[in-house]
């Protein structure tokens, strides 16, 4: 139990979950006060998921990843568990809104976008480092939300975040991204930090 507590603290899990909850509350209040519809709009849902994923991105690295690696722990399993917990956490927060007057859903869309964006951010963390990992999902998702393309297969794949929940192309893309991110991050862990990003994030 002590190990878990130390792990969560070193990954700044309290701060990350706190920011995530705060972001969800703000987005919930924004929708609740600006619209009469109980179902939050697709853009709103996608952007909320993007922010929740960005908030949890900071837990993908500790203060000293090199030191962490020296611990005799089953890192791949631990990192995979970490990502799955993040998925459940974000999904659970969005599920809670289903009980309220501004519902962030539908569940299939939420699950698809959470999994895809978490995979994307985990893959970015493995390649360019945790400090910059949020940028790839942000840039891609803002573009997809602003200019969704539904006509061609390529368009549906490239703007998968903003497709309807029934879109198979989007679901396949999200699954691939999720698996890629899971594998890349679980196997290699976060990329080594640039000198400018040393010590605390």
């Amino acid at each position: 139990m002590k190990g878990l507590r130390l792990y969560l603290r070193s990954r700044r899990a309290p701060a990350a979950t706190g920011s995530a909850a705060g972001i969800l509350v703000v987005m919930w209040v924004l929708w609740e006060s600006s619209s009469n519809s109980p179902e939050a709009g697709l853009q709103m849902v996608v952007l909320t998921i993007l922010l929740l994923v960005a908030a949890l991105t900071m837990t993908l690295s500790g203060p000293d990843d090199e030191l962490d690696r020296t611990g005799a722990l089953p890192w791949p399993a631990l990192r995979a568990l970490h990502l799955s917990t993040a998925l459940v956490l974000i999904g659970g927060q969005l599920l809670i809104t289903q009980l309220t007057g501004a519902r962030f859903g539908p569940t299939s869309l939420a699950l698809r976008d959470i999994a895809g964006l978490l995979g994307l951010t985990a893959a970015s963390a493995a390649v360019i480092g945790t400090a910059k990992a949020w940028f790839v999902p942000l840039g891609w998702t803002l573009a997809a939300v602003l200019f969704p393309q539904g006509d061609s297969l390529l368009g549906r794949v490239l703007t998968w975040q903003a497709q309807e929940p029934s879109s198979r192309a989007a679901a396949v893309t999200a699954t691939l991204l999720a698996l890629t991110g899971l594998l890349a991050y679980a196997m290699t862990g976060p990329a080594r930090k640039a000198p400018g990003d040393a010590t605390t994030q």
Binding site: A55, W134, F135, G196
Partner: protein, 445 residues
């Protein structure tokens, strides 16, 4: 100083930000909404401004991320003991981010220019002004991001700021509903989508936007360089002054950019030789393609008494700018296709001949388009066929060109059955009725 700036350019987020801006901006221009800048340079400059809706929030986020560097590397305490003013330390960062914003935006412009380089002719000065204001908007975004990132050094600041910036730009048109001009000042992307062929951005608009953006940039610098809360709250002042000055400069009307028409772009440019064929300056590179079939059509029309002797482009501009109507001139719609070539080339001949049976724009009952087509084909001696028409100009999926060819073929067959002189006099009467704005129904049937 320049050495520090060079190091800052290498070590900060500047290169990454510039590369992301250029890459995302170019992709958006080519794939997001279809290519709407094939007509020329001002359309390219305005399209670039439209995609600031995406790039402006991202630059905010990049600035906010850059501002957390001191926090990430745990040197805040060290710097606090250094007896140098903050302003001296932040200047190179401000410079590096500004250079990145301008470079990324210009690279995006170069990517767009590659598409129209050999097909665009008319280059008004507004192109540079519109591009400059766009670059200024990105500089202001980067600096504002730096300031906010320094005030709130959290890992989620940057992504939240990006999404908030996007939300702000999306909400502005709604939030400023009855005062569209206010939204136009505040948002660098407002009203810039789908620029028309004679589009322009009025000078007052660019001036007002520059004032606001400059105010915002100064406010961001103050916010970034000041250490006390009193100085920080004073940073509101330049932004407020910017908006106030902008509001005095801009005319208080709505749809200022959407309804603006560049009179120089509408002026006619004529081909060498006779008969006269002219297109607008904005379409001058299409003139060689228009001239041949247009002159051929004028030759066909000579079989009719009082036939028109000139072809001018129909320089109608939304909402109510019509070209002058003259009985000796046929007005032809000219539009550039996706690649900047003439979009309706196979139809120029038919369009000009049938255009001779058009009425002035204010007429209540002009000839039916089937009658115009039938008369034109009778003069040409060919059967009306369904037009092989590329959609004119810009991609517009819901738009279907009315096909009058089936009805026209019936009228044409009826005309052919008549004796030649009788048919000729009816066709002549149709033209007389059309150009003199008399009721034109029933002459051919």
């Amino acid at each position: 100083m320049s050495r520090v700036l060079r190091i800052e350019l290498r070590r900060s987020a500047a290169i990454g930000a510039a590369a992301s801006l250029a890459a995302l901006g170019s992709l958006a221009m080519y794939f997001a909404e279809g290519i709407s800048f094939s007509t020329g340079w001002i359309q390219l400059a305005m399209t670039q401004r439209w995609y600031l809706a995406l790039l402006w929030p991202l630059m905010l986020a990049a600035g906010a991320w850059q501002a957390r560097r001191e926090h990430r590397s745990n040197v805040g305490e060290l710097f606090a003991t250094t007896p140098r003013p903050v302003s001296q330390r932040v200047a190179p960062t401000l410079g590096a981010m500004a250079i990145a914003a301008v470079a990324g935006y210009l690279l995006m412009g170069v990517a767009g220019a590659a598409w129209i380089f050999d097909t665009a002719g008319y280059l008004p000065a507004e192109v540079f002004v519109v591009t400059g204001v766009g670059a200024l908007a990105l500089v202001a975004a980067a600096w504002l991001g730096l300031a906010v990132g320094r005030l709130l050094p959290s890992p989620v600041t940057a992504p939240v700021l990006g999404v908030a910036g996007l939300g702000l730009l999306l909400m502005l048109p709604l939030a400023t509903r009855p005062f569209g001009w206010l939204g136009l000042i505040l948002s660098p992307a407002a009203e810039m989508n789908m620029p028309g062929d004679y589009a322009t951005v009025p000078g007052e608009v660019s001036a007002a936007q520059s004032l606001w953006l400059a105010g915002l940039a100064v406010a961001a610098v103050l916010l970034l360089a000041s250490d006390t809360w009193r100085n920080r709250s004073a940073a509101v002042l330049p932004a407020a002054v910017g908006v106030a000055l902008a509001a005095t400069v801009i005319p208080h009307e709505n749809r200022l950019v959407t309804d603006a028409v560049d009179p120089v772009a509408r002026e006619l440019v004529c081909a060498e030789g006779e008969p006269q064929v002219c297109v607008s300056r904005a379409h001058q590179t299409l003139l060689p393609e228009v001239t041949g079939p247009a002159r051929e059509a004028l030759a066909v029309l000579q079989r009719m008494p009082g036939a028109p002797t000139r072809v001018h482009e129909d320089t109608f501009a939304y909402p109510d700018t019509y070209p002058e109507f003259r009985t000796d001139t046929v007005l032809l719609r000219v539009a550039a296709g996706r690649t900047g070539q003439l979009a309706n080339k196979p139809n120029v001949l038919v369009d000009v001949v049938s255009g001779a049976f058009s009425s002035p724009p204010a007429c209540q009952n002009p000839p039916a388009s089937a009658d115009q087509l039938a008369a034109a084909h009778w003069l040409m001696g060919t059967e009306p066929l369904a037009p092989d028409r590329e959609p004119l100009g810009r991609p517009d999926p819901g738009y279907v060109v009315e096909d009058a060819s089936v009805e026209a073929a019936e009228v044409w067959a009826h005309l052919r059955a008549l004796p030649r002189d009788e048919a000729a006099s009816r066709v002549g009467a149709l033209r007389e009725a059309a150009v003199n704005c008399l009721p034109a129904q029933g002459w051919l049937r």
